[in-house]
Symmetry: C2
């Protein structure tokens, strides 16, 4: 048990920051709002990238790369987009420094002012649709199924590592289609990909739904999302998939000749997830002993710690440990053997527990004698002795078991935090005392949504897909409502 | 043969641009000097990334991510670094746009001016060493072996796709060590990694060497490089590995307590390769029929084109083609079956030839009958009929053969373009009439090097490692020289 860091109960927010820092995931940098993603945190992101990238490619997408700079004028081309975006962003105005004539250091060379300022992409719809214009002439050129892994910048005033930073890493898919139906199908397909990734890899159950108009992406006709629940009862939007209609095609004049020979505007989608998912992962599973990582995403799945008192024991134990290491590694398990003699076993136990390594194997001289190992599970903290025979199978089985257990624990937690509110009082009481997802009737207007948000800080997370139609009255306005929507306070 | 594009002989520079564009590798964007890397070009870069990333990890490195922004003052901290760098770069001065009060569009919000300007990283030594200060206290914290895959910006005035663009993608390794010897060893190790990658994957032979002082990285004590030769006889620097001594540790105050309890400055290296390698790949192997890609890096290694005249034949041929496709794909070969009926076989032949796909399998009704396929090699343009039996082995063998052939062809070419000049006249004549690598004596001074560069546009590419010591006289100054160095005109 790590004593010098906060528990969830004491201070959830500090608990989160402590984990990020003490598990070596990330740290603040010298640049306001920008973080450094440390090797262990980045390895986690690489695992996520690898799984997502494969899913994107399996659904026919290719990666490409577009410029980080967007000419300022591009933002004005799509009216809703400029309203919803592009205000808090990094603006490049000059392209040269010079030696300070008055002394040391460098200053901006005022002679090197750009004619038109460049914006660092907060998202790439505009520069990409400006490019697609040249890629599309005929229906034969469609669909375009492209994804980009990139850094983006949004000048956030209040930042928090992984959850909200000025610069962050993400992927943004941008597809172009001949028909509305095909574009809508793509939007839904990518929502399904995100949901599958969240549940199967991150072990986080998610609600799939559609955003209300107020919460829609700037420039989209429809925004689909997956919503996850964190341990403090707050929701976190884990991914979005937008149906953009013909808005960007019209703004950037992207037309194609249809099979029937008619000139038509192209239909668009975009979809993205970001390093925010690392924050979601931390908050979904970790406990008061530190980080907990599902085995499928763990940079280290198994750590082997040798226990010894002298050189003779060290040689004996490490010999066997290396044998086990080789067996596991050769079968594709991400295993680490920590045979450093600069740190004691107890220190190592704490270290890997804190870093969320799913399985720890401890091996001492008596284990070598008895052909046993001690295995500790990070999720349940259970320890047990196992025969070395057939160890690979046992490890594989345990890893699967941990993956399943984390998911089911998260499902159970979400169920315990899912409520139905039928009055304004009940709604407020649930929000303040329980948190979680609250299903409640809403009159469908942006005004009511806005008032609810101002009064309670709760927002409509989504209107779930395949939602049950049940008539009722809006919890705030009392006006008629055809279905419940999901409210929560959110990250 | 594609007739409407330049040959190397006619116009080498246009030939290069034609390949980049017509093979769908990249195109210019709306932003000056920035390119769009199209899916096929990006797939090539992904193959390179994958191979390099594995080599970095196999040598103990981890990936991490540091901010894209660098505070302006950081550049002034290392004196040589600021002299050699940081002048032509993108400067962020504001962090907000606002609606233009006079009409449409957006303008920069002058109220949102940064106190200190931020520079978009042209390279990350400064921000990384500012970070390392907090990572290092004791010798136990060393070495730090970190790599970053990132975009960087250098405001180049004359740009050329892949070879020189304002924004480009690269990796930059930044390591920290307890001793000079260890840092030097790391510098050399990464040079070897780059050389191995160039020769084994890119099939490009490279000279390993050290740069003269004039050509050294700004802030380095020693810059090692690999130099490749392009088909027009110009050299291309394909990767660099820098020994930075304690310069950045001193500039950013990064000290550690040694085993002996003494406080010492940390030793540093940095090393990088970029999307420039894609340009090198194109120029090393391609011919007047388009792109040629070595099999190990080819996004598509084998393309299968069915030949048919009617639906019955289509069904028959595609059936067999899918069988072959499955066999190859299941064995890890990157194979594509182009069974589109919107394009004729001849069009497809040209298309994949132009895109440099190493092997093309053509399959018609008679082949199905005879259990044969026709296979065409992209490197030699040879065609032949093969029995379908044991096709996988034949394909694997052919791919290996093409990889080897491209490398040996490039070695032979380089040999034919390697010269020794013993006088100023001979040197100039070789440069103008032959190009290539010219081994010549040099008096070792930066002044002479600079004059030679101004008079001939040739630079010292490197002083080869393990260079033979042979006394002679500098081709320009006539002063004594202990060894020949390698001159060339370069990209």
């Amino acid at each position: 048990m790590a004593k010098d860091f906060s528990t969830r109960e004491e201070n959830y927010s500090k608990w989160y920051n402590d984990i990020v820092q003490r598990a070596d995931l990330a740290e603040n940098s010298a640049v306001r709002g920008c973080m450094v993603i440390k090797p262990y945190g980045y390895a986690l992101w690489e695992r996520m990238q690898g799984a997502l990238d494969k899913m994107f490619k399996d659904t026919g997408h290719s990666n490409a790369y577009f410029p980080i700079f967007i000419p300022k004028s591009f933002f004005s081309k799509e009216a809703d987009h400029v309203e919803g975006f592009a205000k808090e962003c990094a603006v490049v105005t000059h392209y040269r420094l010079k030696n300070d004539p008055d002394g040391k250091g460098v200053v901006v060379d005022e002679d090197a002012k750009l004619e038109e300022e460049l914006i660092i992409r907060p998202t790439s719809e505009t520069i990409i649709w400006d490019t697609y214009r040249n890629w599309v002439q005929s229906y034969r050129d469609l669909p375009i199924l492209v994804n980009q892994w990139a850094n983006v910048v949004r000048w956030e005033m209040r930042t928090r590592m992984f959850l909200r930073t000025a610069e962050f890493l993400w992927q943004e898919g941008h597809t172009a289609h001949a028909t509305k139906e095909e574009a809508l199908e793509e939007t839904r397909q990518m929502l399904d990909v995100y949901a599958e990734f969240a549940e199967k890899f991150m072990a986080i159950p998610v609600l799939k739904g559609v955003k209300s108009e107020n919460e829609r992406f700037a420039g989209a006709l429809e925004t689909f999302c997956i919503e996850a629940l964190m341990q403090d009862g707050k929701a976190l939007q884990a991914g979005t998939s937008h149906f953009l209609g013909q808005n960007f095609a019209k703004a950037f004049d992207v037309k194609f000749t249809s099979k029937e020979g008619k000139l038509e505007y192209v239909w668009a989608t975009s979809w993205g997830v970001s390093t925010r998912l690392v924050g979601a992962l931390i908050m979904a599973h970790s406990d008061d002993n530190g980080l907990v990582i599902p085995p499928k995403l763990a940079p280290i799945q198994v750590v082997i710690v040798p226990i010894y008192k002298n050189q003779e024991q060290y040689d004996l134990v490490c010999n066997k440990a290396r044998e086990i290491y080789d067996t596991l590694k050769n079968s594709g398990i991400r295993v680490k053997l920590d045979d450093r003699d600069t740190h004691k076993p107890g220190w190592k136990f704490n270290e890997y527990e804190f870093k969320g390594v799913p399985l720890r194997i401890a091996l001492g001289p008596r284990d070598v004698e008895n052909n046993t190992v001690e295995i500790a599970r990070r999720d349940t903290l259970e320890k047990g002795f196992y025969q070395q025979a057939d160890l690979l199978n046992k490890i594989e089985h345990l890893l699967e078991n941990i993956q399943d257990n984390l998911f089911h624990k998260a499902v159970t937690f979400r169920e315990s935090k899912t409520f139905y509110a039928d009055s304004w009082e009940e709604f407020n009481q649930l929000l303040d005392e329980k948190g979680g997802f609250i299903y409640a009737h809403w009159d469908g207007t942006g005004e009511t949504e806005q008032i609810i948000k101002e009064k309670t800080k709760a927002t409509i997370r989504c209107i779930p897909l395949n939602n049950k139609m049940t008539e009722g009255k809006c919890i705030y306005s009392g006006k008629p409502s055809a279905q419940r929507v999901v409210f929560a306070r959110a990250y």
